[in-house]
């Protein structure tokens, strides 16, 4: 592996990194930069994510999609990618120290960038000394990284592709730029693009007190990098690192022209206590003030502007001098291939359009909080909102909140159909499945799958046929005859035990409720007229619970001013059945939980309960 101090070039177009943490946007930005500068290989070889379930991340490299492998540890990633010699450590401040320390011990890793801010100072200092002892380079902590234009860009530095192009960060220039601040790095790159002609290498060393590599290390390297023709250092109040550069300029270790400025002259106007900017930005002595450093730089022959505002002039002055002397030539502007644009951003900008494959009209999960028919969940969830479960149902099923009488009715229905005991076929199936050791969902589904024309389907049927008879203004006897002609029992009529003399209390309550609360109940009245006919034939051919619910649902919708077409559509799409499915799920789940609690063994139906009649099977 090449050694940093031996090599003046920080990164080359062949440099590949391992990216610690699956930061998809930052990784994609690196790959987009690769496309822009026509790299042959992606600058990210591997991703480390100890908690990731996937083994690959999918990214764009140009217009095509590539898979970048994801590993659980840096060591695994390094072993699988022996050419990757840079680690981009995007771990949080809690883990960044350990991740860096471990990576330093991996021999192929020569450079580590640490982005986390707020690493304990003692740990940051350990990293710095560990790296020095191993002759490796750490950039950071608390940095956006570094860039070698035309070769390799770390994560987010440089910002968007448009900014990279306008700041000429897509091709080598002549300036070696070192800043403390990451935010000002882009600004400086932009100033250099506007007033000179781009940079050859740029680094943000990070704002913490112990930057693991500092101005001097980078500027000495740049002094030896023939592509760098002049240097720009943007320092800050606090610390004494700028003096090491001043010493190097004085003793001739740095011969290239240096432009310098320290921000934070404001700090001298205030007594200690006001923290301006970064953690490291606090002067402990006169020497550490920005003004003192700016003056010392000036005295050492570094070009120092009067203020940050005048920095552009100084830069353009140095550039013009060097250009006139022929030290800086004219850089060839590469052809910029149009960057394939991200579909989403192009859509946002109104440049492309795209058809959708799905439509949703009831809820929205795109904002900060998901909404039910436009209402954020928190405005309908807790009791103080005044919304009940029936309101949530009507918001999501019918896209509006129903008046109190209607939501009360819906809640009554849900409660009424919740359970009919363990013996009905749906509950039985759910229980048998639960006893077979299946999970809750499987058992519930096996119960729900039982619901159909014979079990629980009567609500739909009752609504449909009573509505048909009513709409066609059939007389009750006429309707009974019509159903007989169709060879159909009337859905919603008939009960196993209950009869006209022994009425179903649930039905009576529903009828009472509807008569008191509903504006009108024409279909119920029709169904009761039909019941008078059927009970003449047989005592127990009463309007049962399913029938009552079915016809009242239709009455409800009529009172809510739904059109016939809309109501037919509700019936056809199984909306009535949906109330049964929803309500009965409560009971099924109860039975399943009961079975789980009781721990009964698998059920096997007894032989003596089955009539084995195999007499007509084929005999040999």
């Amino acid at each position: 592996m090449s050694n940093v101090s031996d090599s003046a070039q920080l990164f080359t177009p062949a440099t590949q990194a391992i990216f610690w943490n699956n930061h998809q946007t930052a990784i994609q930005r690196m790959l987009d930069y690769d496309t822009l500068v026509a790299r042959e290989t992606p600058s990210v070889a591997a991703i480390v994510s100890p908690t990731s379930g996937s083994r690959f991340g999918k990214f764009f490299f140009g217009t095509s999609e590539i898979l970048i492998p994801i590993y659980r540890s840096t060591l695994e990633a390094a072993q699988a990618h022996p050419h990757a010699d840079v680690l981009l450590n995007f771990a949080s401040f809690r883990r960044a120290h350990r991740v860096t320390s471990e990576a330093l011990e991996i021999s192929q890793i020569r450079c580590i960038m640490v982005t986390a801010e707020g690493i304990p100072e003692r740990h940051a200092r350990e990293l710095k000394l560990q790296a020095e002892a191993l002759n490796k380079l750490i950039i950071g902590p608390a940095t956006v990284g570094a860039i070698v234009p035309g070769a390799f860009k770390i994560a987010n530095i440089g910002g968007t592709i448009e900014n990279i192009i306008s700041s000429k960060l897509h091709r080598p220039g002549a300036c070696g730029l070192v800043t403390r601040s990451g935010g000002l790095f882009n600004e400086l790159a932009n100033i250099i693009a506007l007033n000179a002609d781009g940079i050859a290498e740029g680094i943000a060393i990070g704002g913490d007190r112990f930057a693991a590599s500092n101005f001097i290390e980078h500027m000495l390297r740049m002094e030896h990098n023939p592509q760098v023709r002049y240097l720009l250092m943007l320092g800050e109040v606090g610390g004494r690192e700028e003096y090491r550069v001043i010493d190097a300029v004085r003793d001739g270790r740095i011969k290239k022209p240096v432009i310098g400025w320290c921000v934070g002259t404001i700090a001298e106007h205030f007594s200690s206590g006001v923290q301006f900017g970064h953690a490291g930005a606090s002067a402990n002595t006169e020497l550490e003030t920005a003004a003192h450093k700016n003056q010392a730089m000036r005295e050492a022959g570094i070009r120092v502007p009067k203020s940050f505002n005048d920095l552009p002039e100084i830069i353009s002055g140095v550039y013009r001098e060097l250009h006139a002397e022929g030290v800086i030539g004219t850089f060839k502007e590469p052809d910029i291939k149009p960057m394939p644009e991200d579909c989403q951003s192009a859509m946002r900008a109104g440049r492309v359009r795209k058809g959708t494959h799905f439509i949703c009209t009831i809820s929205d999960d795109r904002g900060d909080e998901a909404t039910y028919a436009g209402k954020p969940i928190s405005t309908v969830a807790t009791p103080d909102t005044g919304y009940g479960i029936a309101d949530v149902i009507t918001l999501l099923w019918f896209k509006r909140r129903y008046p109190q009488w209607a939501s009360d009715f819906i809640e009554t229905v849900i409660k009424t159909v919740a359970d009919h005991g363990p013996a009905v076929s749906g509950a039985h199936n759910a229980r048998v499945t639960a006893r077979a050791g299946k999970d809750l969902i499987s058992a519930l589904v096996s119960g729900l799958l039982t619901i159909g024309p014979r079990f629980g389907g009567a609500i739909d049927g009752a609504a449909k046929y009573f509505k048909l008879g009513f709409d066609q203004t059939m007389a009750p006897e006429e309707f009974v005859n019509y159903m007989a002609e169709q060879r159909m029992v009337i859905p919603g009529i008939g009960h196993r035990i209950k009869s006209i003399r022994n009425p179903d209390r649930r039905v009576e309550s529903l009828k009472d409720f509807a008569r008191q609360q509903f504006p009108a109940t024409p279909l119920l009245d029709f169904a009761l007229a039909v019941e008078q006919q059927t009970t003449k034939k047989k005592d127990n051919l009463i309007l049962n619970v399913d029938g009552t619910i079915g016809v009242l649902m239709v009455d409800m919708w009529r009172s809510l001013d739904y059109s016939d077409t809309e109501i037919d559509q509700f019936i056809d799409s199984g909306t009535l059945n949906a109330f049964f499915v929803l309500g009965r799920s409560i009971g099924f789940i109860g039975h399943i939980l009961d079975e789980k609690r009781l721990g009964m063994p698998m059920y096997r139906h007894p032989f003596d309960d089955i009539l084995y009649d195999i007499s007509d099977t084929e005999k040999e």
Partner: protein
């Protein structure tokens, strides 16, 4: 922030919490009380745990993270003679001295509002030893002297300084320290043992600076008579249990942060982004709403450069891609402060919405938050007169700049908007020229 001063009282609590782990071979004398008033001291003395307050002579000192309390004459240890201060005297002194503002030799003025009260330990001047440790770039410095006490600086030539490289352990550490134990110390062996323990404690507990001057060693007992400490607060997530609850007081003489500054600080602690606000002069004419730790300093520098600091109302920054809501809250807090009073001279106030070219902060998103704040405060801004200058670049900056311009114009607020082709601080020049 990283290095934060803590009170002497809390520093001693950290010792107490970790005594057996580091100082097991010594007996602690850590009876200490922290009070704000004489009444509080008297009430505390009723408590069984603090019965010692009534049983022995006391020493009282302000505990407000400033040093040189002895030289400032702010240590009560005698009325007639050393060691005759009893509980009623201590309570009376606390009330008396906290009544009027005082000025320290170093120039800061303020009112004393927090005191530490401890048993008076009679001892010879010659028994006062000194120990401190601090972090430097390449090593820690452990300083030792057998000539401790208030005049330590006058005897600095007698202080031994030991540079300890990080990671020095075991016998290597002990040898390094043993060589430098002052021979004048009567009990060299105990001084040595204490120094090693002290250094290990300093290092493991993430102190940035820790000084005990003086301390006494009497038999097995250590008396920590006076303590100064700063911790590295970024280690808080590791040290929670070991430190116990720590409070970082505002430096003496500095205005305590206002409700708005505290609200921003709390928002900052809850957020992954960074939100900072310091009000420098609430009557100031120029308010800055700037993105980025570096850029915010450059704007402040430029304003101070061009017209001085008197007109600069605040320092602050938002960065690290805050959400729209966080930015709106930050901007509203600032606009609220800004629009409380008109300029004394009747001029328009200036709002600098500045920033460098962002790396990843979404400008359109953060500006949506600022626009929400402008919307809420438009009326007040018009009443007092505010001129807005905007300069920003970065992801989605075109959309952000267009939106803020349209919004301000629709709200009837005068605004000038610039992008990355205008030098970052040029808007300050333009604003001041207007």
């Amino acid at each position: 922030m990283a290095q934060r001063a803590i009170r002497e009282y809390e520093g001693k609590k950290v010792f107490e919490n970790n005594w057996s782990r580091f100082f097991g071979q010594f007996k602690p004398e850590l009876r200490t009380a922290s009070v704000a008033s004489g009444a509080e001291l008297l009430a505390l003395a009723e408590d069984e745990q603090h019965a010692w307050l009534t049983q022995m002579p006391l020493v009282v000192k302000p505990d407000m993270v400033f040093g040189k309390r002895g030289l400032n004459g702010l240590v009560l240890y005698k009325i007639q003679q050393a060691g005759d201060v009893m509980l009623p005297d201590a309570a009376a002194w606390v009330d008396e001295i906290s009544q009027t503002p005082i000025t320290l030799l170093s120039g800061q003025s303020g009112r004393l509002s927090r005191f530490i009260v401890e048993p008076f330990i009679p001892h010879e001047k010659s028994a006062e030893w000194y120990i401190s440790a601090r972090m430097e770039e390449n090593h820690d410095i452990l300083s030792l002297s057998a000539a401790g006490g208030v005049e330590i600086e006058a005897h600095w030539d007698q202080v031994k300084q030991i540079a300890i490289p990080p990671g020095t352990e075991g016998t290597a550490l002990e040898e390094l320290i043993r060589q430098e134990i002052p021979v004048e110390a009567g009990d060299v062996e105990r001084f040595f043992q204490f120094a090693v323990s002290f250094y290990r404690f300093f290092r493991a507990l993430h102190f940035s600076y820790l000084e005990i001057n003086p301390f006494l060693l009497s038999g097995d007992t250590v008396y920590l008579l006076d303590l100064v400490a700063r911790v590295d607060d970024t280690a808080g997530f590791l040290m929670e249990k070991h430190w116990g609850p720590l409070y970082f007081p505002t430096p003496f003489g500095m205005k305590a942060p206002g409700a708005e500054e505290n609200a921003i600080k709390q928002a900052d602690e809850k957020s992954g982004a960074s939100l900072k606000l310091t009000v420098l002069n609430p009557q100031g004419r120029i308010w800055t709403l700037v993105a980025g730790g570096g850029a915010s300093v450059v704007y402040a520098d430029t304003i101070a450069d061009l017209i001085g600091v008197e007109e600069l109302a605040n320092y602050g920054e938002y960065s690290g891609n805050p959400t729209t809501e966080e930015t709106a809250f930050y901007a509203k807090t600032l606009l609220d402060l800004m629009t409380r009073e008109p300029d004394a001279q009747g001029r328009d106030k200036i709002l600098i919405i500045g920033g460098a070219i962002a790396n990843f902060t979404d400008v359109a998103k953060t500006f949506t938050g600022i626009i929400q704040a402008l919307d809420s405060y438009a009326h007040k801004m018009q009443t007092i007169g505010v001129k807005i200058y905007v300069r920003r670049g970065g992801p989605n900056y075109e959309v952000g700049l267009r939106n803020i311009k349209q919004a301000a114009l629709a709200l009837g607020l005068p605004i000038e908007v610039y992008g990355p082709d205008t030098h970052m601080t040029d808007i300050v020049r333009m604003a001041l020229r207007a």
